[in-house]
C-alpha cells in the first residue's frame, strides 16, 4: 500500500489531537499538523499531501483562503479538501463547497463520521 499523508489544520490543539487520534485508527497513514493557515502553507510545498482537513475559522489565513489557494494552484488541483466547521457557520461551509471543497464535517461529529469521509479518499 502506498503511503498516504493527511494534513490537519486547526488552531485548537485539543481539536487537532482529537482528529489525529481518530485518524490514527486508520492504520498506516502519515498525519501532519498545522496550527494555522500560515504553517499549512509552509508545510505543503515540502511534503506530499494526499488529503487536507481544515478548520474554517482561524486567525490570519482562514480555511476558505487556504482552500482557494489550493484550488487555484495546479499542483494541488487534485488534492481533496475536507472543511470542518460548526453549524453556526453554515454560510461559510456553503462558500467552501462552492470554492471546491470535496467534503465537509459539522462539529460536533462522531469519530466514525470523520473516518467514513476520510476512507473515501484513501
Amino acid at each position: 500500500m502506498k503511503s498516504f499523508t493527511i494534513l490537519v489544520v486547526d488552531d485548537s490543539n485539543a481539536m487537532r489531537s482529537l482528529l489525529v487520534s481518530t485518524l490514527e485508527s486508520l492504520g498506516p497513514v502519515t498525519i501532519l499538523q498545522a496550527p494555522n493557515g500560515f504553517e499549512a502553507l509552509r508545510i505543503m510545498p515540502r511534503q506530499e499531501i494526499n488529503l487536507l482537513l481544515t478548520d474554517i475559522n482561524m486567525p490570519d489565513i482562514n480555511g476558505l483562503e487556504l482552500l482557494n489557494f489550493v484550488r487555484s494552484n495546479p499542483l494541488y488541483k487534485e488534492l481533496p479538501v475536507v472543511i470542518i466547521s460548526t453549524e453556526g457557520s453554515r454560510k461559510d461551509i456553503e462558500k467552501g463547497l462552492s470554492l471546491g471543497a470535496s467534503e465537509y464535517l459539522v462539529k460536533p461529529f462522531l469519530p466514525e463520521q470523520l473516518l467514513e469521509i476520510v476512507r473515501r479518499f484513501l
Partner: protein
C-alpha cells in the same frame, strides 16, 4: 458520546487544559475591550478574537461531549457575532453580559472536573435568557450590497467569510479606500515578507483578508492578495509600501458613504446607557513606515520540521510532583552515601572513604543542578495571578460604582505553581475586602480631600526564601474600636481591656467574625477572613495586617517559594523526631532552666532584652513523657513574619533536605503539622508548621 473511547482520552485531557486557557484568554481580552470602549474606540480585530475564543470553545466542548459548556459558549458566540457584525452596539449592559458569560464558563470548566455540570442549569438558563433579551429581533435590514459597485474580482470576494464581508462593507461605509495589494514572496521565507506587509497595512488601516494565490513561479514563490481598507488613496498607500516589491492591483471606494455604517437595527436596541457610539470604529495606529515588525512566527532559518510547531510542552503538574519526589529520594540516597563515607573514615578505611566522599560531593553538585532544574519548571510568575485580580477589581468596581486604579508591581516574581493556585482565592478575597470595606465611595473620598479614584496596589517581591505579596489600599483604614466591639458582641473574646491595636486587628481572623454592617454581594460571598488565613497557612504562609486610620490598610502575605523540597532542622523531643522547615528557624540555643520565667501562666525566656514566649513540644502535642528527663534542652527560635516563638526540644539532630508529603484527609485538622517527610532510612517523621503553631497559641489567648 464516543469521545470517551480510549484513543480520545489524551485528547480529552488536552481539551480541559486548552478550554481553560481559552476562557482565560477570553476574559482578559474582554477586559481589554472594556478598557478600549471606555476610551471611546475599540479595535474590530480584538472583538473578532473574542468571538473566535467563544467559537472555538463551543466547537471544542461540543466535540468532547460537554453539552452545557457548549451551550453557554454558543449563546455567547451569537451575542458576539451580532456585535462584530454591527447588529447591536457595545453597551454597558452587553459588556456586563459578556463578563458574566466568561465567569460562568470558568465556573463550568471547573465543574467538568467533578461532574457537577448539571447543577448549574439555572445559571445557564438565566444566561441564555439575558442574551436573548439583548438580541432583539433584527429588522431584516439588507442594505443594497455596495460590493458589486466596487467591482472586486470574484476570485477575492468568493473566499471572504461572512465576517470579512461585513468588515469590507464597514470600511466602504466609512468612505475608506479599498485596496488589493499583490505581493510575491519566496516560498521558504514568505512569512517575514508577509508580516512586514501586513503590519504596514495595519499601520494605516485594516487588513480585511489575506488570500494566498498562485503566481508565475509557483515552484519557488507564493503570492498573496491582501484586501485592505484605508483612509489613504492609492498614491499615499504606495508611499507607505515603498521599499517592498508589491503591486497595488486594485483601488476603489473612498467616496462619501452612501449607506449608513450602522444598520438600522442598531437604533432599535433598548435605550440603555450607551457608551459613546463606537460600532465599527477602528483604532487607527500612528502611521510610520519604518515600524518594527514583531516576528510572529519562528524564523525560517530553523531546521524544518512538519511535526512540531510549538516550542512549549504542557505538562500535568502531577508528573512534575512525581519527578520532584524522585529527586527528593535521590537527595536522601545521597545523604546516606555521604553518611556512609563519614562512618568509613571514622572506622579507618581512610583512602576509600576519601574517594567515596569525593564521589558523593560530585553527585551532590549534579543533584543540586537537577533539583534546581525541576524547581524552575514549577515556577511561574505571579503576574499570572495579576490578570485574574485585575478582572475581579474591574468587576467589583463596576458593581459598586467605585472608581479604582489597580497598580501592579513585581509581576515577574516567581512562585511554585501549586502555591500560586492555592493563593488565588485568599488573595481575591483580600482584594474584595479592600474594595468593599476599605475604599470609600467617590463622594466620600472627595469629601475627605482624596482623589475620587481609589488605589489598590499589589506588589510582589522575593525576600530570602520567601515571596511577599502586599495588598495595599488608600481607603479609610480599619476601625479598630469597631472590631473590638464586634468581637465582644459575638463573644469571640471576653476581655478587650489589655488588647493592643495590633492584637485587636488579629481578631478579624477569628472564625465567625465579619464587620460588614450588611453582607454585600462581594465580601459576603462565601468565606470569612479565618478561611483566608487558613488557606494561606495551608501553603505554609502567613498573613499580617497594618492599618492607618483614614489612609488605608496593608495586607502582607508571606509565602515560601516552594513546598516541594526544603531544608529542615531535625529535632528530637520526648522520644519523637520532627522536622522544622529551616525557612522558619531563626536561631537555636541551649536552654538553661534558670532563664525561664512565667508571665501570666506562660513560660518565657529573655532573649537579647526581648521577651520570647516558649512552648514545650510535648505539651503542645500532649505527649506523655516517659522515662528519664532529658539533660540539656534546646530552644529553636522560629518566626514567621514579625512573630517569634521558642520551641523547647530535647536535641538537635542536624539539617537535612526533606520532601514534604501531604497527610491524608483524616489528619487535615491537626494543628501544627504541615505534612510528613521521609528521612531516607525508612523512618517517616512529621513536619512542624511554625506558622500554625504560633497562631494556635495566639488563639488560645492568655493561656
Amino acid at each position: 458520546m464516543s469521545a470517551q473511547s480510549p484513543p480520545a482520552m489524551d485528547a480529552a485531557r488536552d481539551f480541559l487544559a486548552e478550554a481553560e486557557e481559552v476562557v482565560e484568554e477570553l476574559s482578559s481580552r474582554l477586559g481589554e475591550l472594556s478598557d478600549m470602549a471606555e476610551q471611546g474606540a475599540w479595535d474590530p480585530d480584538l472583538l473578532n478574537a473574542i468571538f473566535r475564543d467563544a467559537h472555538s470553545l463551543k466547537g471544542l466542548a461540543g466535540m468532547f461531549g460537554f453539552a452545557v459548556v457548549s451551550e453557554v459558549a454558543h449563546h455567547t458566540e451569537s451575542l458576539l457575532d451580532w456585535l462584530r457584525m454591527g447588529k447591536i452596539s457595545l453597551t454597558r449592559q452587553v459588556l456586563e453580559i459578556l463578563f458574566n458569560s466568561a465567569e460562568l464558563l470558568a465556573t463550568l470548566m471547573r465543574s467538568t472536573l467533578d461532574g457537577t455540570l448539571e447543577q448549574h442549569r439555572e445559571a445557564v438558563d438565566a444566561h441564555a435568557g439575558a442574551i436573548a433579551a439583548c438580541m432583539a429581533p433584527a429588522g431584516s435590514s439588507s442594505p443594497v450590497s455596495p460590493l458589486q459597485k466596487l467591482g472586486l474580482s470574484a476570485q477575492i470576494t468568493g473566499s471572504l467569510t461572512d465576517y470579512e464581508e461585513h468588515r469590507l462593507k464597514e470600511n466602504l461605509g466609512k468612505g475608506r479606500f479599498i485596496h488589493v495589494v499583490h505581493a510575491s514572496f519566496e516560498l521558504l521565507t514568505f512569512d517575514e515578507g508577509l508580516n512586514d506587509l501586513t503590519s504596514r497595512l495595519k499601520g494605516c488601516g485594516e487588513v480585511i483578508s489575506t488570500l494566498p494565490s498562485v503566481g508565475e513561479n509557483m515552484e519557488t514563490h507564493i503570492d498573496f492578495d491582501l484586501l485592505a481598507g484605508s483612509d489613504l488613496d492609492r498614491e499615499q498607500l504606495a508611499v507607505v509600501l515603498d521599499g517592498i516589491a508589491v503591486d497595488i492591483t486594485f483601488s476603489g471606494g473612498g467616496s462619501v458613504p452612501e449607506t449608513p455604517s450602522v444598520p438600522e437595527s442598531v437604533k432599535e436596541t433598548p435605550p440603555t446607557e450607551l457608551l459613546p457610539e463606537t460600532v465599527g470604529s477602528v483604532a487607527v495606529f500612528p502611521l510610520s513606515s519604518d515600524q518594527e515588525v514583531a516576528p510572529v512566527f519562528s524564523g525560517s532559518d530553523e531546521p524544518l520540521s512538519a511535526k512540531s510547531m510549538s516550542r512549549t510542552v504542557r505538562v500535568d503538574i502531577g508528573k512534575l510532583d512525581e519527578l520532584m519526589n524522585i529527586v527528593g529520594e535521590l537527595v536522601l540516597a545521597h545523604s546516606s552515601i555521604a553518611a556512609l563515607a563519614n562512618r568509613m573514615r571514622a572506622e579507618g578505611f581512610s583512602r576509600m572513604a576519601i574517594d567515596l566522599g569525593k564521589a558523593a560531593k560530585g553527585l551532590d553538585r549534579r543533584l543540586g543542578d537537577l533539583q534546581k532544574g525541576v524547581m524552575d519548571i514549577r515556577m511561574i510568575p505571579v503576574g499570572q495571578l495579576y490578570e485574574k485580580m485585575s478582572r475581579i477589581v474591574r468587576k467589583i468596581s463596576r458593581e459598586q460604582g467605585k472608581k479604582i486604579d489597580l497598580k501592579l508591581f513585581g509581576a515577574e516574581t516567581e512562585l511554585d505553581k501549586l502555591i500560586v493556585e492555592d493563593i488565588a482565592d485568599p488573595l481575591m478575597h483580600i482584594i474584595r475586602n479592600a474594595i468593599d470595606h476599605g475604599i470609600e465611595a467617590p463622594e466620600q473620598r472627595l469629601a475627605a480631600g482624596k482623589n475620587e479614584r481609589g488605589v489598590v496596589r499589589i506588589s510582589s517581591y522575593q525576600k530570602g526564601n520567601h515571596v511577599v505579596i502586599e495588598v495595599e489600599d488608600d481607603g479609610d483604614g480599619i476601625n479598630v474600636e469597631k472590631i473590638k466591639k464586634i468581637a465582644l458582641e459575638k463573644r469571640l473574646v471576653s476581655d478587650i481591656s489589655g488588647l493592643t491595636d495590633k492584637e485587636a486587628l488579629e481578631l478579624i481572623f477569628l472564625p465567625g467574625f465579619s464587620t460588614a454592617d450588611t453582607i454585600t454581594d462581594v465580601s459576603g460571598r462565601g468565606v470569612g477572613m479565618d478561611v483566608v488565613r487558613n488557606n494561606i497557612a495551608a501553603v505554609s504562609g502567613m498573613v499580617d495586617i497594618e492599618t492607618w486610620p483614614g489612609r488605608g490598610s496593608r495586607f502582607t502575605i508571606v509565602l515560601p517559594i516552594t513546598l516541594a523540597i526544603i531544608k529542615a532542622l531535625i529535632v528530637f523531643c520526648a522520644g519523637r523526631t520532627y522536622a522544622v522547615p529551616i525557612t522558619s528557624v531563626i536561631e537555636s540555643l541551649i536552654l538553661s532552666p534558670a532563664d525561664i520565667r512565667t508571665v501570666e501562666g506562660r513560660e518565657v525566656i529573655s532573649l537579647r532584652e526581648h521577651t520570647l514566649p516558649i512552648v514545650r513540644l510535648e505539651n503542645f502535642f500532649r505527649i506523655e513523657r516517659t522515662g528519664i528527663c532529658p539533660g540539656d534542652q534546646y530552644v529553636v527560635v522560629v518566626g514567621v513574619a514579625e512573630k517569634r516563638l521558642g520551641l523547647v526540644v530535647d536535641d538537635l539532630l542536624g539539617q537535612q533536605d526533606i520532601v514534604i508529603k501531604p497527610l491524608g484527609g483524616a489528619f487535615k485538622a491537626l494543628r501544627g503539622i504541615s505534612g510528613a517527610a521521609d528521612l531516607g532510612d525508612q523512618r517517616t517523621i512529621l513536619v512542624l508548621d511554625s506558622g500554625s503553631i504560633i497562631s494556635e497559641l495566639m488563639r488560645s489567648g492568655g493561656g
